[in-house]
Protein backbone atom coordinates (compact mmCIF):
# COMPACT_ATOMS: atom_id res chain seq x y z
CA UNK A 1 0.00 0.00 0.00
CA UNK A 2 1.44 3.34 -0.99
CA UNK A 3 1.42 6.34 1.33
CA UNK A 4 -1.33 7.89 -0.78
CA UNK A 5 -3.49 4.77 -0.45
CA UNK A 6 -2.90 4.73 3.29
CA UNK A 7 -3.95 8.34 3.43
CA UNK A 8 -7.14 7.63 1.47
CA UNK A 9 -7.94 4.66 3.66
CA UNK A 10 -7.50 6.73 6.81
CA UNK A 11 -9.72 9.52 5.48
CA UNK A 12 -12.33 6.95 4.46
CA UNK A 13 -12.36 5.28 7.88
CA UNK A 14 -12.56 8.57 9.76
CA UNK A 15 -15.38 9.77 7.52
CA UNK A 16 -17.27 6.53 8.10
CA UNK A 17 -16.95 6.89 11.87
CA UNK A 18 -18.09 10.50 11.67
CA UNK A 19 -21.11 9.45 9.62
CA UNK A 20 -21.87 6.72 12.12
CA UNK A 21 -22.09 9.36 14.83
CA UNK A 22 -23.97 12.01 12.89
CA UNK A 23 -26.55 9.92 11.00
CA UNK A 24 -28.42 8.55 14.05
CA UNK A 25 -28.65 12.05 15.54
CA UNK A 26 -30.06 13.43 12.32
CA UNK A 27 -32.49 10.52 12.11
CA UNK A 28 -33.72 11.06 15.67
CA UNK A 29 -34.25 14.74 15.03
CA UNK A 30 -36.04 14.09 11.73
CA UNK A 31 -38.17 11.36 13.30
CA UNK A 32 -39.36 13.65 16.09
CA UNK A 33 -40.01 16.48 13.65
CA UNK A 34 -42.03 14.26 11.30
CA UNK A 35 -44.10 12.70 14.11
CA UNK A 36 -44.54 15.88 16.12
CA UNK A 37 -44.98 18.63 13.56
CA UNK A 38 -48.68 17.83 13.06
CA UNK A 39 -49.44 18.51 16.72
CA UNK A 40 -47.55 21.77 16.81
CA UNK A 41 -49.99 24.64 16.49
CA UNK A 42 -50.77 27.85 18.31
CA UNK A 43 -53.30 26.16 20.58
CA UNK A 44 -50.82 23.45 21.59
CA UNK A 45 -48.22 25.90 22.84
CA UNK A 46 -50.55 28.50 24.38
CA UNK A 47 -53.23 26.56 26.26
CA UNK A 48 -53.27 24.44 29.39
CA UNK A 49 -53.74 20.67 29.30
CA UNK A 50 -57.28 19.37 29.50
CA UNK A 51 -59.00 16.03 30.20
CA UNK A 52 -56.15 14.50 32.18
CA UNK A 53 -53.55 15.92 29.78
CA UNK A 54 -55.00 13.95 26.87
CA UNK A 55 -56.18 17.12 25.18
CA UNK A 56 -55.27 20.77 25.09
CA UNK A 57 -51.81 22.28 25.11
CA UNK A 58 -48.62 22.24 27.13
CA UNK A 59 -48.23 25.94 27.86
CA UNK A 60 -47.54 25.55 31.63
CA UNK A 61 -44.77 23.07 30.92
CA UNK A 62 -43.14 25.32 28.31
CA UNK A 63 -43.29 28.30 30.60
CA UNK A 64 -42.05 26.20 33.52
CA UNK A 65 -39.01 25.16 31.54
CA UNK A 66 -38.32 28.77 30.53
CA UNK A 67 -38.63 29.92 34.15
CA UNK A 68 -36.41 27.10 35.40
CA UNK A 69 -33.79 27.91 32.77
CA UNK A 70 -33.71 31.52 33.91
CA UNK A 71 -33.61 30.42 37.54
CA UNK A 72 -30.70 28.11 36.72
CA UNK A 73 -28.88 30.98 35.03
CA UNK A 74 -29.34 33.24 38.06
CA UNK A 75 -28.20 30.52 40.46
CA UNK A 76 -25.28 29.37 38.36
CA UNK A 77 -23.68 32.21 36.40
CA UNK A 78 -22.34 34.49 39.17
CA UNK A 79 -20.94 31.57 41.18
CA UNK A 80 -19.46 29.82 38.15
CA UNK A 81 -17.78 32.89 36.67
CA UNK A 82 -16.52 33.99 40.07
CA UNK A 83 -15.03 30.55 40.68
CA UNK A 84 -13.53 30.47 37.18
CA UNK A 85 -11.87 33.88 37.66
CA UNK A 86 -10.49 32.78 41.00
CA UNK A 87 -9.12 29.50 39.67
CA UNK A 88 -7.66 31.00 36.50
CA UNK A 89 -6.27 34.29 37.80
CA UNK A 90 -5.71 34.11 41.54
CA UNK A 91 -5.44 30.54 42.81
CA UNK A 92 -1.93 29.25 43.31
CA UNK A 93 -1.12 25.67 42.49
CA UNK A 94 -1.54 24.09 45.91
CA UNK A 95 -2.82 20.75 47.09
CA UNK A 96 -6.15 22.40 47.93
CA UNK A 97 -6.68 23.93 44.48
CA UNK A 98 -5.70 20.65 42.84
CA UNK A 99 -8.39 18.92 44.90
CA UNK A 100 -10.90 21.61 43.96
CA UNK A 101 -10.14 21.15 40.27
CA UNK A 102 -10.39 17.39 40.59
CA UNK A 103 -13.74 17.78 42.34
CA UNK A 104 -15.04 20.04 39.58
CA UNK A 105 -14.07 17.57 36.88
CA UNK A 106 -15.71 14.74 38.81
CA UNK A 107 -18.85 16.69 39.58
CA UNK A 108 -19.32 17.26 35.86
CA UNK A 109 -19.53 13.50 35.41
CA UNK A 110 -22.00 12.70 38.17
CA UNK A 111 -25.39 11.38 36.97
CA UNK A 112 -28.10 14.00 37.16
CA UNK A 113 -30.33 11.86 39.39
CA UNK A 114 -27.71 12.28 42.11
CA UNK A 115 -28.11 16.04 41.85
CA UNK A 116 -31.86 15.49 42.08
CA UNK A 117 -31.47 13.59 45.34
CA UNK A 118 -29.02 16.18 46.64
CA UNK A 119 -31.53 18.93 45.81
CA UNK A 120 -34.26 17.01 47.59
CA UNK A 121 -32.15 16.62 50.71
CA UNK A 122 -30.50 20.03 50.77
CA UNK A 123 -33.02 22.48 49.36
CA UNK A 124 -36.45 20.85 49.58
CA UNK A 125 -36.07 19.31 53.03
CA UNK A 126 -33.10 20.80 54.92
CA UNK A 127 -33.61 24.42 53.80
CA UNK A 128 -37.34 23.74 53.84
CA UNK A 129 -37.95 25.33 50.45
CA UNK A 130 -40.42 22.58 49.54
CA UNK A 131 -40.86 21.36 46.00
CA UNK A 132 -40.61 24.75 44.41
CA UNK A 133 -39.14 26.70 41.49
CA UNK A 134 -36.39 28.00 43.75
CA UNK A 135 -35.39 24.53 44.92
CA UNK A 136 -35.43 23.27 41.33
CA UNK A 137 -33.43 26.22 40.04
CA UNK A 138 -30.80 25.79 42.75
CA UNK A 139 -30.54 22.08 41.99
CA UNK A 140 -30.19 22.65 38.26
CA UNK A 141 -27.80 25.52 38.96
CA UNK A 142 -25.51 23.33 41.01
CA UNK A 143 -25.64 20.64 38.37
CA UNK A 144 -24.63 23.20 35.73
CA UNK A 145 -21.80 24.74 37.81
CA UNK A 146 -18.94 22.34 36.96
CA UNK A 147 -19.41 22.59 33.19
CA UNK A 148 -19.64 26.37 33.23
CA UNK A 149 -16.68 26.73 35.62
CA UNK A 150 -14.51 24.53 33.42
CA UNK A 151 -15.38 26.23 30.13
CA UNK A 152 -15.13 29.72 31.65
CA UNK A 153 -11.75 28.91 33.22
CA UNK A 154 -10.47 27.62 29.89
CA UNK A 155 -11.73 30.72 28.11
CA UNK A 156 -9.97 32.95 30.67
CA UNK A 157 -6.72 30.99 30.45
CA UNK A 158 -6.86 31.22 26.66
CA UNK A 159 -6.45 35.02 26.81
CA UNK A 160 -2.78 35.55 25.93
CA UNK A 161 -0.55 36.43 28.87
CA UNK A 162 0.91 39.45 27.06
CA UNK A 163 -2.29 41.44 27.46
CA UNK A 164 -2.15 40.96 31.24
CA UNK A 165 1.50 42.03 31.21
CA UNK A 166 0.78 45.20 29.24
CA UNK A 167 -2.12 46.12 31.45
CA UNK A 168 -0.10 45.61 34.65
CA UNK A 169 2.85 47.50 33.17
CA UNK A 170 0.58 50.51 32.67
CA UNK A 171 -0.20 50.60 36.36
CA UNK A 172 -3.53 48.76 36.30
CA UNK A 173 -4.32 46.57 39.30
CA UNK A 174 -4.93 42.88 38.80
CA UNK A 175 -8.66 43.31 39.14
CA UNK A 176 -8.67 46.17 36.61
CA UNK A 177 -6.68 43.96 34.29
CA UNK A 178 -9.16 41.12 34.65
CA UNK A 179 -12.20 43.32 34.30
CA UNK A 180 -11.10 45.49 31.41
CA UNK A 181 -8.97 43.10 29.33
CA UNK A 182 -9.24 39.47 30.36
CA UNK A 183 -13.01 39.12 30.80
CA UNK A 184 -14.02 40.97 27.62
CA UNK A 185 -11.63 38.83 25.60
CA UNK A 186 -12.79 35.63 27.30
CA UNK A 187 -16.47 36.51 26.95
CA UNK A 188 -17.28 34.51 23.79
CA UNK A 189 -15.97 31.34 25.43
CA UNK A 190 -17.72 32.09 28.71
CA UNK A 191 -21.06 32.77 27.02
CA UNK A 192 -20.77 29.60 24.97
CA UNK A 193 -20.16 27.59 28.13
CA UNK A 194 -23.06 29.22 29.93
CA UNK A 195 -25.53 28.59 27.10
CA UNK A 196 -24.45 25.00 26.59
CA UNK A 197 -24.74 24.43 30.35
CA UNK A 198 -28.22 25.97 30.38
CA UNK A 199 -29.36 23.93 27.39
CA UNK A 200 -28.40 20.80 29.26
CA UNK A 201 -30.28 22.01 32.34
CA UNK A 202 -33.36 22.80 30.25
CA UNK A 203 -33.53 19.22 29.02
CA UNK A 204 -32.89 17.41 32.31
CA UNK A 205 -35.61 15.40 34.04
CA UNK A 206 -33.93 13.79 37.01
CA UNK A 207 -32.86 16.91 38.95
CA UNK A 208 -36.36 18.38 38.80
CA UNK A 209 -38.16 15.13 39.54
CA UNK A 210 -38.15 15.60 43.32
CA UNK A 211 -37.45 19.30 43.60
CA UNK A 212 -39.95 21.26 41.55
CA UNK A 213 -42.01 19.32 39.03
CA UNK A 214 -45.71 19.06 39.28
CA UNK A 215 -47.29 15.95 37.78
CA UNK A 216 -50.26 17.92 36.56
CA UNK A 217 -50.76 21.58 37.33
CA UNK A 218 -52.97 23.17 34.69
CA UNK A 219 -52.16 26.74 35.78
CA UNK A 220 -49.18 29.02 36.04
CA UNK A 221 -47.04 29.09 39.21
CA UNK A 222 -47.87 31.90 41.64
CA UNK A 223 -44.37 32.52 42.98
CA UNK A 224 -40.88 31.05 43.07
CA UNK A 225 -42.02 28.97 46.04
CA UNK A 226 -44.69 27.33 43.94
CA UNK A 227 -44.39 24.14 41.92
CA UNK A 228 -44.43 24.19 38.17
CA UNK A 229 -44.72 21.78 35.30
CA UNK A 230 -41.68 21.44 33.06
CA UNK A 231 -41.26 19.93 29.61
CA UNK A 232 -38.82 17.07 30.32
CA UNK A 233 -40.77 15.80 33.29
CA UNK A 234 -44.07 16.32 31.47
CA UNK A 235 -42.75 14.25 28.61
CA UNK A 236 -41.71 11.53 31.03
CA UNK A 237 -45.13 11.57 32.67
CA UNK A 238 -47.20 11.44 29.51
CA UNK A 239 -44.97 8.79 27.97
CA UNK A 240 -44.91 6.39 30.90
CA UNK A 241 -47.41 7.27 33.61
CA UNK A 242 -50.65 8.03 31.78
CA UNK A 243 -52.45 5.18 30.03
CA UNK A 244 -53.96 5.72 26.58
CA UNK A 245 -52.02 8.92 26.00
CA UNK A 246 -52.32 10.05 22.35
CA UNK A 247 -48.91 9.65 20.64
CA UNK A 248 -49.35 12.96 18.87
CA UNK A 249 -49.17 14.88 22.15
CA UNK A 250 -46.07 12.95 23.21
CA UNK A 251 -44.24 13.70 19.99
CA UNK A 252 -45.44 17.29 19.99
CA UNK A 253 -44.04 17.77 23.49
CA UNK A 254 -40.77 16.14 22.52
CA UNK A 255 -40.53 18.41 19.50
CA UNK A 256 -41.07 21.56 21.56
CA UNK A 257 -38.43 20.50 24.10
CA UNK A 258 -36.01 19.64 21.34
CA UNK A 259 -36.56 22.97 19.62
CA UNK A 260 -35.88 24.87 22.85
CA UNK A 261 -32.63 23.00 23.48
CA UNK A 262 -31.56 23.22 19.83
CA UNK A 263 -32.21 26.94 19.69
CA UNK A 264 -30.06 27.48 22.81
CA UNK A 265 -27.25 25.49 21.19
CA UNK A 266 -27.70 27.45 17.98
CA UNK A 267 -27.46 30.75 19.87
CA UNK A 268 -24.25 29.50 21.49
CA UNK A 269 -22.60 28.74 18.18
CA UNK A 270 -23.74 32.03 16.64
CA UNK A 271 -22.32 33.96 19.59
CA UNK A 272 -19.09 32.04 19.34
CA UNK A 273 -18.50 32.59 15.64
CA UNK A 274 -19.61 36.23 15.73
CA UNK A 275 -17.41 37.20 18.65
CA UNK A 276 -14.50 35.12 17.46
CA UNK A 277 -14.47 36.98 14.18
CA UNK A 278 -14.04 40.24 16.07
CA UNK A 279 -10.98 39.23 18.01
CA UNK A 280 -7.81 38.55 16.11
CA UNK A 281 -4.78 37.62 18.09
Amino acid sequence: MTRQQAHQLAVGLISAVAALVVIPIVLVILFIIVRGIGTLDWEFITTVPRSGMKEGGIMPAILGTVILTFGTAIACIPLAIGAAIYLAEYARDTRLTRWVRLAIVNLAGIPSIVYGLFGLGAFVLFLNLGTSIIAGSLTLGIMTLPVVISTAEEAILAVPQRFRMVSLSLGATRWQTIRSQVLPQAMPGIITGVILGLSRAAGETAPILFTVSAFYLPRLPHSIFDQTMALPYHLYVISTQVPDMPLSIQYGTALVLMLIVLSLTLIASIVRTKMRRRREW
Binding site: R92, R162, F163, R164, M165, V166, S167, L168, S169, L170, G171, A172, T173, Q176, S180, Q181, Q185, R278, R279, E280, W281
Partner: protein, 262 residues
Protein backbone atom coordinates in the same frame (compact mmCIF):
# COMPACT_ATOMS: atom_id res chain seq x y z
CA UNK B 1 23.17 71.22 27.17
CA UNK B 2 24.64 68.35 29.16
CA UNK B 3 25.89 70.70 31.84
CA UNK B 4 22.50 72.35 32.13
CA UNK B 5 20.77 69.04 32.73
CA UNK B 6 23.36 67.99 35.24
CA UNK B 7 23.07 71.29 37.05
CA UNK B 8 19.30 71.16 37.24
CA UNK B 9 19.11 67.61 38.56
CA UNK B 10 21.92 67.33 41.03
CA UNK B 11 24.04 64.40 39.96
CA UNK B 12 21.73 63.80 36.99
CA UNK B 13 20.98 60.23 37.93
CA UNK B 14 17.40 59.16 37.38
CA UNK B 15 17.98 55.57 38.44
CA UNK B 16 20.64 54.23 40.76
CA UNK B 17 21.14 50.52 41.20
CA UNK B 18 23.03 49.38 44.29
CA UNK B 19 24.09 45.79 44.91
CA UNK B 20 21.04 44.50 43.12
CA UNK B 21 20.65 40.74 42.72
CA UNK B 22 17.74 38.76 41.37
CA UNK B 23 16.91 35.07 41.71
CA UNK B 24 14.63 32.68 39.86
CA UNK B 25 14.24 30.12 42.61
CA UNK B 26 17.86 29.47 43.60
CA UNK B 27 19.28 30.54 40.25
CA UNK B 28 20.98 33.95 40.43
CA UNK B 29 19.94 35.75 37.24
CA UNK B 30 21.51 39.05 38.29
CA UNK B 31 24.57 39.24 40.50
CA UNK B 32 25.10 42.32 42.62
CA UNK B 33 24.69 45.00 39.97
CA UNK B 34 25.80 48.59 40.48
CA UNK B 35 25.08 51.30 37.94
CA UNK B 36 23.41 54.64 37.47
CA UNK B 37 21.26 55.79 34.60
CA UNK B 38 21.20 59.44 33.62
CA UNK B 39 18.08 61.52 33.29
CA UNK B 40 16.93 62.19 29.71
CA UNK B 41 19.48 59.77 28.37
CA UNK B 42 19.10 56.54 26.43
CA UNK B 43 20.82 53.63 28.13
CA UNK B 44 21.26 50.50 26.01
CA UNK B 45 21.71 47.07 27.59
CA UNK B 46 23.46 44.53 25.41
CA UNK B 47 24.65 40.98 25.87
CA UNK B 48 23.94 37.44 24.71
CA UNK B 49 20.55 35.77 25.27
CA UNK B 50 20.04 34.73 28.87
CA UNK B 51 22.62 37.18 30.21
CA UNK B 52 20.06 38.87 32.45
CA UNK B 53 19.52 42.13 30.57
CA UNK B 54 15.77 41.62 30.16
CA UNK B 55 15.48 40.45 33.74
CA UNK B 56 17.24 43.62 34.80
CA UNK B 57 14.90 45.72 32.67
CA UNK B 58 11.85 44.11 34.26
CA UNK B 59 13.35 44.71 37.69
CA UNK B 60 13.08 48.43 37.07
CA UNK B 61 9.27 48.34 37.05
CA UNK B 62 9.00 45.24 39.22
CA UNK B 63 7.31 43.25 36.45
CA UNK B 64 9.44 40.28 37.49
CA UNK B 65 7.14 39.94 40.47
CA UNK B 66 4.43 38.56 38.21
CA UNK B 67 6.62 35.44 37.93
CA UNK B 68 6.30 33.14 40.90
CA UNK B 69 9.18 31.99 43.05
CA UNK B 70 11.47 34.93 42.36
CA UNK B 71 13.40 37.11 44.79
CA UNK B 72 15.12 40.48 44.60
CA UNK B 73 17.95 41.75 46.81
CA UNK B 74 19.51 45.16 47.01
CA UNK B 75 18.28 48.60 46.17
CA UNK B 76 17.06 50.40 43.07
CA UNK B 77 16.57 54.11 43.58
CA UNK B 78 14.24 56.09 41.36
CA UNK B 79 14.81 59.79 42.06
CA UNK B 80 16.45 58.72 45.30
CA UNK B 81 13.56 56.54 46.48
CA UNK B 82 13.96 52.78 46.77
CA UNK B 83 11.37 51.14 44.52
CA UNK B 84 11.75 47.89 46.47
CA UNK B 85 10.64 49.54 49.68
CA UNK B 86 7.64 47.57 51.05
CA UNK B 87 5.67 50.80 51.27
CA UNK B 88 5.88 51.38 47.52
CA UNK B 89 2.66 50.88 45.58
CA UNK B 90 3.72 48.91 42.49
CA UNK B 91 0.83 50.20 40.38
CA UNK B 92 2.05 53.73 41.06
CA UNK B 93 5.64 52.72 40.32
CA UNK B 94 4.59 51.25 36.98
CA UNK B 95 2.79 54.43 36.12
CA UNK B 96 6.12 56.25 36.51
CA UNK B 97 8.17 53.53 34.82
CA UNK B 98 6.44 52.50 31.60
CA UNK B 99 7.31 49.58 29.37
CA UNK B 100 7.30 48.77 25.66
CA UNK B 101 7.47 45.07 24.87
CA UNK B 102 9.35 43.02 22.33
CA UNK B 103 6.49 42.24 20.00
CA UNK B 104 3.91 44.89 19.17
CA UNK B 105 1.04 43.92 21.47
CA UNK B 106 -1.87 46.30 21.08
CA UNK B 107 -5.08 45.19 22.77
CA UNK B 108 -7.66 43.80 20.30
CA UNK B 109 -9.45 47.14 20.49
CA UNK B 110 -9.48 50.43 18.61
CA UNK B 111 -6.41 52.67 18.38
CA UNK B 112 -8.18 55.17 20.62
CA UNK B 113 -9.10 52.62 23.30
CA UNK B 114 -5.54 51.29 23.31
CA UNK B 115 -4.03 54.68 24.04
CA UNK B 116 -6.82 55.64 26.45
CA UNK B 117 -6.51 52.41 28.45
CA UNK B 118 -3.89 53.64 30.93
CA UNK B 119 -5.46 57.04 31.59
CA UNK B 120 -8.82 55.32 32.08
CA UNK B 121 -7.72 52.73 34.63
CA UNK B 122 -5.59 55.27 36.48
CA UNK B 123 -8.34 57.89 36.41
CA UNK B 124 -6.03 60.48 34.86
CA UNK B 125 -8.69 62.06 32.71
CA UNK B 126 -12.22 62.90 33.71
CA UNK B 127 -13.22 61.56 30.32
CA UNK B 128 -14.55 63.31 27.23
CA UNK B 129 -12.39 66.07 25.81
CA UNK B 130 -9.55 65.72 28.32
CA UNK B 131 -9.15 62.08 27.33
CA UNK B 132 -9.30 63.00 23.63
CA UNK B 133 -6.51 65.46 24.30
CA UNK B 134 -4.32 62.89 26.06
CA UNK B 135 -4.85 60.42 23.23
CA UNK B 136 -3.89 63.02 20.63
CA UNK B 137 -0.81 64.19 22.54
CA UNK B 138 0.34 60.62 23.07
CA UNK B 139 -0.09 59.68 19.42
CA UNK B 140 1.73 62.86 18.43
CA UNK B 141 4.47 61.96 20.87
CA UNK B 142 4.76 58.55 19.24
CA UNK B 143 4.88 60.15 15.79
CA UNK B 144 1.71 58.41 14.69
CA UNK B 145 -0.98 61.07 14.91
CA UNK B 146 -1.00 62.13 11.28
CA UNK B 147 -1.18 58.55 10.08
CA UNK B 148 -4.13 57.55 12.24
CA UNK B 149 -6.07 60.66 13.19
CA UNK B 150 -8.87 59.81 10.76
CA UNK B 151 -9.18 56.21 11.91
CA UNK B 152 -8.88 56.35 15.68
CA UNK B 153 -11.87 54.05 16.07
CA UNK B 154 -10.53 51.30 13.83
CA UNK B 155 -8.81 48.22 15.30
CA UNK B 156 -5.18 48.80 16.25
CA UNK B 157 -4.42 45.34 14.90
CA UNK B 158 -5.21 46.53 11.36
CA UNK B 159 -2.05 48.69 11.41
CA UNK B 160 1.37 47.58 10.22
CA UNK B 161 3.71 46.09 12.85
CA UNK B 162 5.76 49.30 12.97
CA UNK B 163 2.63 51.39 13.48
CA UNK B 164 1.37 48.93 16.09
CA UNK B 165 4.59 49.33 18.01
CA UNK B 166 4.13 53.10 17.92
CA UNK B 167 0.56 52.64 19.23
CA UNK B 168 2.14 50.71 22.09
CA UNK B 169 4.60 53.55 22.69
CA UNK B 170 1.71 56.03 22.63
CA UNK B 171 -0.15 53.81 25.09
CA UNK B 172 2.89 53.85 27.36
CA UNK B 173 3.44 57.61 27.31
CA UNK B 174 -0.29 58.27 27.77
CA UNK B 175 0.07 57.63 31.51
CA UNK B 176 2.84 60.26 31.67
CA UNK B 177 5.74 58.10 32.82
CA UNK B 178 9.20 59.43 33.64
CA UNK B 179 11.12 56.37 32.53
CA UNK B 180 10.38 54.20 29.49
CA UNK B 181 11.74 50.66 29.42
CA UNK B 182 11.99 49.04 25.99
CA UNK B 183 12.56 45.33 25.67
CA UNK B 184 13.97 44.76 22.17
CA UNK B 185 11.23 46.96 20.73
CA UNK B 186 12.41 46.58 17.14
CA UNK B 187 13.15 42.87 16.98
CA UNK B 188 9.86 42.15 15.20
CA UNK B 189 10.11 45.12 12.83
CA UNK B 190 11.60 45.69 9.39
CA UNK B 191 14.64 48.01 8.99
CA UNK B 192 12.62 51.07 7.98
CA UNK B 193 10.22 50.73 10.90
CA UNK B 194 13.24 50.16 13.13
CA UNK B 195 14.84 53.46 12.09
CA UNK B 196 11.48 55.13 12.68
CA UNK B 197 11.41 53.87 16.27
CA UNK B 198 15.04 54.92 16.82
CA UNK B 199 14.28 58.47 15.65
CA UNK B 200 11.33 58.43 17.96
CA UNK B 201 13.49 57.30 20.88
CA UNK B 202 15.84 60.24 20.35
CA UNK B 203 12.91 62.64 20.45
CA UNK B 204 11.37 60.92 23.48
CA UNK B 205 14.68 61.22 25.34
CA UNK B 206 14.11 64.96 25.54
CA UNK B 207 11.26 64.23 27.90
CA UNK B 208 11.89 60.77 29.29
CA UNK B 209 14.69 58.60 30.58
CA UNK B 210 14.94 55.57 28.31
CA UNK B 211 16.39 52.14 28.98
CA UNK B 212 16.47 49.78 26.02
CA UNK B 213 17.44 46.14 25.76
CA UNK B 214 18.70 45.26 22.30
CA UNK B 215 20.35 42.41 20.47
CA UNK B 216 21.29 44.74 17.68
CA UNK B 217 24.78 46.16 18.21
CA UNK B 218 24.31 48.82 15.54
CA UNK B 219 21.15 49.94 17.24
CA UNK B 220 22.92 50.37 20.56
CA UNK B 221 25.74 52.27 18.83
CA UNK B 222 23.35 54.46 16.82
CA UNK B 223 20.66 55.25 19.30
CA UNK B 224 22.03 55.23 22.84
CA UNK B 225 24.13 57.52 25.02
CA UNK B 226 25.23 54.90 27.51
CA UNK B 227 25.75 51.20 27.01
CA UNK B 228 25.94 48.39 29.53
CA UNK B 229 27.27 44.96 28.61
CA UNK B 230 25.80 42.01 30.52
CA UNK B 231 27.38 38.57 30.73
CA UNK B 232 25.99 35.68 32.80
CA UNK B 233 24.09 37.94 35.15
CA UNK B 234 26.90 40.38 35.70
CA UNK B 235 27.40 43.88 34.41
CA UNK B 236 30.82 43.62 32.77
CA UNK B 237 31.18 47.13 31.46
CA UNK B 238 29.07 50.26 31.57
CA UNK B 239 30.27 53.42 29.85
CA UNK B 240 29.36 56.05 27.32
CA UNK B 241 28.30 54.38 24.09
CA UNK B 242 30.99 56.01 21.96
CA UNK B 243 33.74 54.84 24.30
CA UNK B 244 32.52 51.31 24.80
CA UNK B 245 32.29 50.68 21.07
CA UNK B 246 35.53 52.54 20.22
CA UNK B 247 37.72 51.15 22.98
CA UNK B 248 36.14 48.51 25.19
CA UNK B 249 38.13 48.02 28.39
CA UNK B 250 37.09 44.43 29.03
CA UNK B 251 38.09 41.46 26.88
CA UNK B 252 34.58 40.02 27.10
CA UNK B 253 33.01 43.23 25.88
CA UNK B 254 35.38 43.47 22.99
CA UNK B 255 34.80 39.86 22.00
CA UNK B 256 31.04 40.35 22.07
CA UNK B 257 30.79 43.62 20.17
CA UNK B 258 33.21 42.47 17.53
CA UNK B 259 31.12 39.34 17.11
CA UNK B 260 33.59 36.81 18.41
CA UNK B 261 31.36 35.66 21.22
CA UNK B 262 27.63 35.57 21.91
Amino acid sequence: MDNQILASTGDGNKIEVQDFSFYYGDFPALKSLNLSMKRNRITALIGPSGCGKSTFLRSLNRMNETIRNTRAEGVILLDGKNIYDPAVDVTELRQHVGMVFQRPNPFPQSIYDNVAFGPRVLGLAGGGSRLDQIVQESLEGAGLWHEVKHRLRTPALDLSPGQQQRVCIARTIAVKPEVILMDEPCSALDPVATLHIEDLMRRLAEQYTIVIVTHNMQQAARASHWTGFFWLGELIEFRQTGEIFRSPQEKLTEAYITGRRG
